[in-house]
Every structure is written in structure tokens, then in C-alpha cells.
Symmetry: D3
Subunit: 131 residues, 6 copies
């Protein structure tokens, strides 16, 4: 059970309403994910989080699917259930099939292992040869 | 200082040598990164790690650059210095410029924040509308 | 489901009973939180954990509310559901309202992001100017 | 060695310069911490990070010292060296003495232990009695 | 709810079937744990994970129970519910009683605390006296 | 550089001196590891940490080497450099050779991977068949 009372999707608070409307339009959905309804208990923080997420997630040098794949890789590494569910759905909506998803997760698993082995052996970063 | 004595690149151990030669050929480099020289103190584990990494990192549904970007996202989230250095160099070698790298890191930073906010509010995964 | 059988609140084990009574008195509650009932399966460890928690959490230079806020910040960063629920209730009992709670969580979220960006760029600690 | 070339404090880029000037003024320092010089390689991200940090860290229901203490607790839990150094200096600058710092760290250590014990025993969140 | 459809235990896919049969035989069980049914959605990854786990977990210098204890310590430190349940059951099946389990968890809790205190004080590794 | 001034090994503070003497005797060393010299800046916390570590690390159902192996597994999973160095030295002092150390680290690496895969697929804990 969430630790705060989620703000209703149909809230009449104009500041929250403006963000909720932009979320629906930007994500092309007709409902509000629970994370935004929780953040809406603090409208200023809601605005900061949403405006920043919108700016960072818009396609640039890195396309939208790759950005969602990064979000999934981070969420899995942090073990965040809500975010794993949300970003798994997002990569699938953007066209990644089960085979592609499994490849992503295999890479995530692999480097969680390799990171710890590198730490375990206390090796110094390689001095890379000049190219 | 590493906690084990790194195996010399020119070792005469045939089992280790075979892996080292394959690493050089596959990665198109003429030296052996320290992580493999540490793992070589346990040849069976070296073989397992290398054969698995080689299988998982070969391009499939997900291309080589995206796989390295995932490796970097995981390494940053785990705070592994050796791996951050290594995978930053790898994505650059595969053509990602500073602007692209900065975009990747912005996404990694963003979801380390969002993951913890989702945990903090103890929200349940959204029941996604059927499409 | 917990991995051990929780010890009953009304146990007749005198060693456990003494700790349970002190927990009720110190926290001014009439029930025993599940974590202590789990730890009670190993009475020596229960005593060590409780006596230490009691010593560390008593107000000193840092007041009781700030100590609970730190406990919440750590629990969120580690993603521990039981502890997030417990320490959210504790800060509220000590008088923090929803606005204050949201401010705390905003700071926790922010530095989970900034920590990873600092790691990502592999920057050395600043040499602080002498004051 | 940082993975990007840090932007010079005296850069002539007007967008970066505006943020650098605001950092100096807000923090009352005459130099730029390395994290901001790294983020400045991506001016849009620099602006987002700084404007958000400034908004979240201004005193509100939670005072400035408590916010820095939270930042330190998060940084220690994540093991981020740069941030631990930076926020230790910040809490000291705001008046926390060695005794207070040690109390903070004792609480941080304690709940890193308790979090893992709660996870280990897989206990469900307590149903808190209504008050 | 799992993010992929778990492969049926009685699948007719020969590649998956061979691994499932080997899992049952090696672990001396007549059912397939869910993690392997999830990994089976990507048969090549299933084979890599299982063959590697089998090789690493076979008794060597370190006996089977100690290896499972290590698996539990890692799983608790990462807060992975599925794995904590699975490895708690495994150490019990290998003969560890509740007293032994509690000792293991006490050590795990202790060093999650000590790790963070060592990070917090930013102490350099000791130069160990030659023996 | 440590964030506090380490207490001198030859301090005349009787409370700290008593702990330092007990550390030397218990560990059979003639110097004080830096972590204890840092904790000594807060004598009450030093006493709590040392008395608890001594109680938990004494051999019981679990022998001394296995307890140190657990400490190493936790430290690697948390990426704590000071602790990895310290516990690697400790397991070697207790007789674990390089082959045994490599086996331990292989298990630690493996479950850092498996933990994240279990999280990634969001699988529920297995309902274990009654035995």
C-alpha cells in the first residue's frame, strides 16, 4: 500500500492538472501512472520531475527505444519492481519483442556479474593505448 | 593494488593462452585488459566468463553499441570504476560522441532517481490497460 | 512469507521477554514489530541489535526526528519495503507532515541521481580551498 | 581521471557561464566543483540538474543542514566517494561538529544493517494499529 | 506477475527439455523453479546460465553448503526476494538449522553496516604488515 | 584521504585504549586497522561496533573461515574497497588459497547476475513442495 494517498486523476488542482494533461498527451495514454499520482502530493516536485523526464527522454542522439532500454537496465540493477514493470511495458510498446527483451536482460545480468568480479579483484582501470 | 597477481599476457599456459588469443582477435586489440588477467588465475572460470560474454555480446536483435550502452548503464548504477572506464572507452570506440554519451548518462541519472522515488512511495505496479 | 517462524509476542523465554518489554516501553507501543519477532529466533543477536539500536537512536547532538529521517533515507536508497513502511510511520508519528515527508523524499531522489552522475564521470574529489 | 574533459571555470559559453555564476553566488564560493564542470559538457543537462538541485535544496519544511545530512546518508549508502567528500564538507560548513557527524554515520551504518536483516527474514510490513 | 510468460515444464522444445531434465537430475527435484522457466524463453541464454551455474556450484575447494551460504549472503545484500527464498530453502535442505541460519544472517547484517562505515570515513586500505 | 582525523594507535584515552588492546589481542596483530581508528573518534560507537563484531564473528555453528567468506561476499557485492582488501587478507590468513578464493568469487559473481535476472523477470517465489 502506498505511503501517501495518491492524488485523484481528476483532481481540480490546476497545477497538477496541467502536468497530468501533458503526461497523457506526451505518452499518448488516457490514464495517469501511479508514480505521478504519488508525486502530485507535492506539486512543485511533480513539475520538476516531469519537466526533467520529458526533456531527458525526448529522442536526440539516442533514440526513444534505446533510452527506455537504459531505463530498464537501471531499474533491474536497482531491483525496483514498479519501474521494471513500467519500463518492460514501455520497451514492448516501442516494438521490442521477447527475443530482444531477453537479449537486453542477458546483457544486464552479465555486467552485474562482471562489475562485482572487477571490484572483487581490486583491479585498476586499464591505461588504454593511444589510438 | 589487485588482490591477486595478474597473469602475464605472455603466459605459456595453453588454456589461458587460447582465451587470451581469442580476446585479442575478437576485440581487435593487441593487449589483454586487466580483468581477464585476474580471472586467468582460475582458468576454468576464465573460460566460462569469456565464452559467455562473447556469446551474449555478439550483435543479435540488439546491436553492439546498444549492448555496450547497457553495460555502461549497469556499471554506473553499480558504481564500478574499472567497468565505467572500460565501457566508456568501448562506446566511444563504437562511435558514440560526447553528446551521445552525455545523453546516455542523463538517462542513467534520471532513473536512479525515479527508481528510489517509486520505492519511497511504495506504489504498486500499474495494471496496464489492455491494448 | 517470512523465512523463519516469528516468535510469539507472549513468549515465555525470559531473555526474549526482557527485550520485548523494553521495546514496548521505549517505543511506547503495545505490540512487537515483526523484525524483532524474527530476530528473537536468535536471542543473543536480538539483544545485540536492540541494545545497539537503542543506544544509537537516543537523541544526542542529532534529534530523534532527524535520526528517523536518516533511517528513512537509507531504507529508500536500499529499497527495503519493510523498513520504508516502518520509518515512514515513525517520522509521521514524530510530527513530520506530508509536505515535510515529500521534501525529504525529493532530496533522497536527487542524490541518488547525483551520486551516479559523479560516478559516471569518474571525477576526483574536489580539493577544498582552505577556509 | 574523469571520462570527459572538464569544462574550464572561465568558459565563455554564455549558457554555462550563467549557471557557473549562479552556483558561485548560491553556494558562496569562488570556484566550481568538478561535478558541475563535468555536467557542463552538456549545457541543457547542466541547467536541468542545477535548477532542480537549487529548488530542492532551498530550506522549506526541512532546514538546510538536515537536507545536507540526507544527502550524506544517501551518498554513503551508495558508496559514492566524490559525493561523500563533498557532503561531509557541506555539513561541517553548516556547523555540524565531529560528534554530530559521528552520530549521523552511526545511524547510517545501523540501518544499512537493519535493512538487510529485514530483507533476509522476508517479513511483511507491519499492519500498524490505528491511532 | 512475471514480465514474460513462463515456459511450461512439459515443453516439447528439445533444447529447453534437455536443460530442464538436467536441472531435475542435478538438483534431485521433480519440478522446475520459476527462474529457469523464465530464462527458457531464450534457450541459448538458458543453456549458458545453467551450464555456468552447474560448473560453478559443484563442490571444489569450497563445499556445497558454503557455496549456498555465499549465494544467500549475496541475495540478501542485493535484496532479491525470489533468491532469498530459494537460497534459504537450499541451505536448509543441505542441513543448516535455524541457529546456523541466524548466525549467517547476523554476519551478513554486520558487514552491510561495516562496509558503509568504511565508505563513510573514506579510509584507505590498510598496508598490511609482511608476515 | 579520510574524512576524520584517525585516532593515534597510542592514544591515552582509556576507553579507546581498552578497545584497541582487545582488538590486538583478539586478532593477534600488533597494529590497529584504520576503520577502528576512525570509529575511535566516537568512543561509544567504537565500543558498540567492536563488542558486536567480536560477538558475531566468534565461531559457533558457523566456523571462522566461513564467517570471513561471508564478510568478503557482502563486501564485494557492496563494492567496498577497504573491506574487500581487509577480508581478502583475512580469508587468506585463515588458510584459503588462491584456488579457493577464486571459487568464492565465482559464486559471488554468479549470484549478482542471477539476482538481477530474477528481479528482471519479476517472478514470484516458488511454492516449495512439502518434503
Amino acid at each position: 500500500m502506498s505511503t501517501v494517498r495518491l492524488v485523484d486523476e481528476n483532481t481540480t488542482d490546476p497545477r497538477v492538472r496541467a502536468v497530468f494533461d501533458d503526461i497523457k498527451k506526451t505518452k499518448d495514454i488516457d490514464w495517469i501512472p501511479a508514480i505521478w499520482r504519488a508525486l502530485a502530493t507535492h506539486p512543485e516536485h511533480l513539475e520538476l520531475c516531469w519537466s526533467r523526464l520529458k526533456a531527458i527522454m525526448k529522442p536526440g542522439k539516442i533514440d526513444a527505444l534505446t533510452k527506455e532500454i537504459i531505463a530498464l537496465a537501471v531499474s533491474v540493477t536497482n531491483g525496483c519492481d514498479y519501474c521494471i514493470n513500467s519500463h518492460t511495458a514501455a520497451v514492448q510498446k516501442l516494438g521490442l519483442d521477447t527475443e530482444g527483451l531477453n537479449e537486453v536482460l542477458a546483457v544486464v545480468g552479465l555486467f552485474n556479474q562482471m562489475n562485482r568480479l572487477a571490484d572483487a579483484y581490486q583491479i585498476e582501470p586499464d591505461i588504454l593505448p593511444k589510438t
